[in-house]
Amino acid sequence: MEKIRKSKKSYFQSFIFFFIVSFMSIPVLAQEEDNLTTERKAPEFTLQSLEGETISLSDYKGKNLVLHIATTWCPFCNAEAPHLEKLYQDYKDKNVEVLIIDVKEPKDLVKSQLKEKHALSFPILLDPDGKVAASFAPKDVLPDLSRDEVMLASNLIIDKEGKIRFMSLLDSKNFDAELVELKKRLDELL
């Protein structure tokens, strides 16, 4: 009986040890794996557009998709919005589509403060609980933030096969409102 007790204690101690070691190793692993440039499969999603249309990522199979994650109050999203519209106009004949996923905001607000304010002609999807935005967040980046918060003002390119070929998280010191880097990567893909 005493032996069983000791054995249980030993297992528990080992569990604690591995628990601590595994968390200590996270920063090292995060440095080694560059999540933002990994060509991982984009998570599938289905959301409603402002017009009430149901849109899924799979609808864009065979096309290159530029995806921007936004809120109406996000200063950087507002600065990028006119350039996203310009990008859409410049690239829509090159098999490129543009989408905005708006996070946790009501339809009427998004319609007036994003679509109409910036005269956006491409679809805007509503992500009412932020789950879709969160599904795109690299798990080791900014671990103390909620996952949908990590993704605000992010841009992604999802290729014809549904792989993420570009992802930029917000970097306000090197803010690229005109989407220069994204367009460069897009041109390489086309």
Binding site: I16, P75, K117, L169, E178
Partner: protein
């Protein structure tokens, strides 16, 4: 065996994601000046290093300005208030200019009490709504509650 359970719980909760606050109410530095039935209360707030919040005025339509609201109290009337930032600057995002605050700000509140409530302990409670950013991220708007007692 028992000593491992609290340790395990501490470890688990240490690694769960948390929603950060970027402004702190420094209640211990609150200033109260009185004269007759008038009070001037100065509420100090600290914006964490490396972060800024949107200003109260001078922000574009879509941006959420810093705002304060107070709860009504039968013992007094708020006759005025102003938010006084220590450091305000303009930033440009593409062509859009807006004003932001960093470091500290104070909220100066003017209060008028009636004769009956003058000697009573009174409470000033309210809420600051702000939206913060740093060099890497913009964050969902936060609601920061504050509460002080004064006589």
């Amino acid at each position: 065996m028992n000593c491992f359970r609290p340790l395990l719980l501490i470890l688990i909760f240490s690694f769960l994601p948390v929603q950060d606050e970027f402004v702190i109410f420094q209640a211990e530095d609150t200033g109260v000046k009185t004269g007759n039935n008038q009070y001037e209360i100065s509420l100090p707030f600290k914006i964490l290093d490396g972060y800024y919040i949107q200003a109260e005025k001078g922000v574009p339509e879509n941006i959420i300005p810093t705002q304060v609201t107070f709860q009504k109290n039968k013992l007094y009337e708020i006759t005025g208030y102003e938010i006084l930032p220590l450091e305000e600057k303009s930033i440009f995002l593409d062509t859009i200019e807006h004003k932001v605050w960093s470091n500290d700000f104070r909220i100066r509140v003017l209060i008028k009490v009636n004769d009956k409530s003058r000697s009573l302990t009174k409470q000033l409670t309210g809420e600051v709504v702000y939206q913060a950013c740093n060099n890497k991220q913009c964050f969902y708007p936060r609601n920061l509650n504050f509460e002080i007692d004064f006589i």
